[in-house]
């Protein structure tokens, strides 16, 4: 239970817990001890040298990009060919006739409008169950069109940074939590869905389906900030949609599982991660158990799985084994 609370508080902006051997299981303490032996260190260093020539895999990246593309293109196909598969936009839709509503958009509307809307509740519950089943913030990395363009901006950012043209500026991760509260209060008090006016997810989704709009200038502006000023700043520090789905993800059966035994603690996973604070446990001596589930903020994007040279990080569906 304390692990769950900790995962939520880290998601909301708290610093990840420092290493504390008192929390650790006897087994993992022994493992860390063994890993600190000179022979083990020498072995790891040699292995890491060998791995430098390895090319990172793109297995999950390709799957994810296909997923984002399909999710968004199916709206377009439904509209243009009038096949009624998925009508609407990412904010709300009918999927073969069933109501779907983006959780954050639905919350904004409920707060602003203050009325019980049965179709919206049905859409909310349906989408909640759907994203609960597949990992919560997996919405971000597997469906959100802004995530995709933001990944491209991130590539540009890293290219520029490697050549020392720019440097990255971090924000406090609590910013997102404060904004989440502010936007909720603004909807409640003003009676307008304030966040929707600047949500790049809604803007992009509608632009893809209904044609380009002036609002794309705002999205382009955000990408410029991400390229030149702060890596992935919107998804990391601002977007309330991510917080909503992170709450769903905190109780989702789909998790990234960390296995401490083979890990070289080289930090490759943390360098590619959108939310590296969730991977604090992969630092040498930090794991509280032999196997650790990565926290609520994880988008299940699989970048760490692709980049890990030892297979210590993998997708896991909790309870699936016992079910089978």
């Amino acid at each position: 239970m304390s692990g769950f609370v900790n995962s939520l508080s880290v998601m909301l902006g708290a610093k990840p817990l420092a290493m504390d051997t008192k929390r650790q299981s006897e087994e993992v303490r022994q493992l860390h001890k063994d890993k600190r032996s000179p022979e083990a260190i020498a072995e790891r260093n040699q292995a890491m040298l060998d791995e430098e020539h390895m090319k990172p895999k793109n297995k999950w990246l390709i799957r994810r990009w296909i997923s984002i593309f399909l999710v968004n293109i199916i709206f377009v196909i439904s509209f243009y060919f009038d096949v009624q598969l998925v009508e609407g936009a990412l904010t709300a839709s009918r999927v073969i006739g069933f109501h779907f509503a983006d959780l954050n958009s639905a919350i904004q509307v409920m707060l602003a409008h203050k009325a019980f809307l049965i179709n919206l509740v049905i859409g909310f519950v349906t989408v909640f169950v759907l994203w609960w089943l597949v990992g919560g913030r997996s919405f971000c990395s597997w469906a959100c069109p802004y995530h995709l363009v933001s990944e491209w901006a991130e590539m540009a950012h890293l290219w520029l940074r490697a050549r020392k043209y720019i440097k990255n500026r971090e924000l406090h991760r609590g910013t997102r939590t404060v904004l989440y509260v502010i936007f909720s209060l603004l909807a409640l008090v003003t009676g307008y869905t304030v966040f929707e006016a600047i949500s790049p997810v809604g803007i992009l989704s509608r632009a893809i389906i209904y044609g380009p709009t002036l609002a794309l200038i705002w999205v382009a502006g955000l990408l410029v900030v991400e390229i030149f000023f702060s890596r992935r700043f919107w998804c990391r520090y601002i977007c309330p949609i991510g917080v909503t789905y992170a709450f769903v993800g905190s109780i989702s059966p789909v998790q990234i599982k960390y296995d401490a035994v083979e890990c070289h603690h080289d930090g490759a996973c943390r360098r590619v991660c959108l939310v590296p604070h969730v991977l604090e446990t992969t630092k040498m001596g930090y794991a509280d158990d032999m196997e650790v589930s990565i926290g609520a903020d994880c988008t299940r994007c699989g970048m760490c799985v692709d980049v890990c040279p030892t297979g210590s990080l993998a997708f896991e569906v909790k309870g699936l084994k016992s079910l089978l």
Binding site: K167, T190, Y192, A197
Partner: protein, 261 residues
Amino acid sequence: MSDSKKTDKAPEKKKKPKKLSKNQRKARREFMRSVAIGGGVVGASLLGFFPVEKNWNPRLRPPGAIDEKDFLAACIKCGQCVQVCPVEAIFLGDLDEGFGIGAPYIDSRAQACDFSCDALQCILACPTEALTHKIDKKEQVRMGLARVVRPNACLAKEAKPFKGTIRGPDYNGLMRITEIDRWVPVKLGEHEFDRTVCDLCVKYCPIPGALDLEPLYENASRDGWLPVVDKECVGCGLCDMVCPVEPSVFTIDERKTWSDT
């Protein structure tokens, strides 16, 4: 962009000679940056107030739209109404409409709602009842009211005929003409009208009793008529679309009701 070294060495406040460690300075800069950018994002979102509060861009909303403020709150900006409209009358607001971004509107002169769907499809499509489900007949709709603003331009006033396409062959507005096809709307750019006295607005008004041509002169020495809007008018704007003179004889006062007049 590489001013970090300068700020690292920046002299600290002299009042309090408290020395901040490098980490503390870094944390302080991060905090200031977070406040600035977070504030900037909230500020940008609040700019959306101006267009709606100042009513910069009053819009004709689709059939069934509830009170404007509630409408903007309830609308989830998904465009399902856009997708079901058979005459493609509905468009979504852009950045310049503030909180109205993504909310549907109709430009009646370009493409009016002609109720060719019969069943108020946009209302049925709306998942949040921003288009209220309480109505199910076109006569119950209250989008606004038509008003004759340029009577002197009206062809009927001088008993003039109208023959040909309204607004030329390039105009791609759609309208259902039941005597031609009950289900498929006609492309107005391809349709030749022929009226001995122009009465297109009245003839094609989809609401019975909403618009009539009334004679201007008591004695029969002269012929002339003008369209007169009655309280049945729902503000769909079809008269505005079909009016062949440029600019239109009509305007649609969005959200105006008969009791306002």
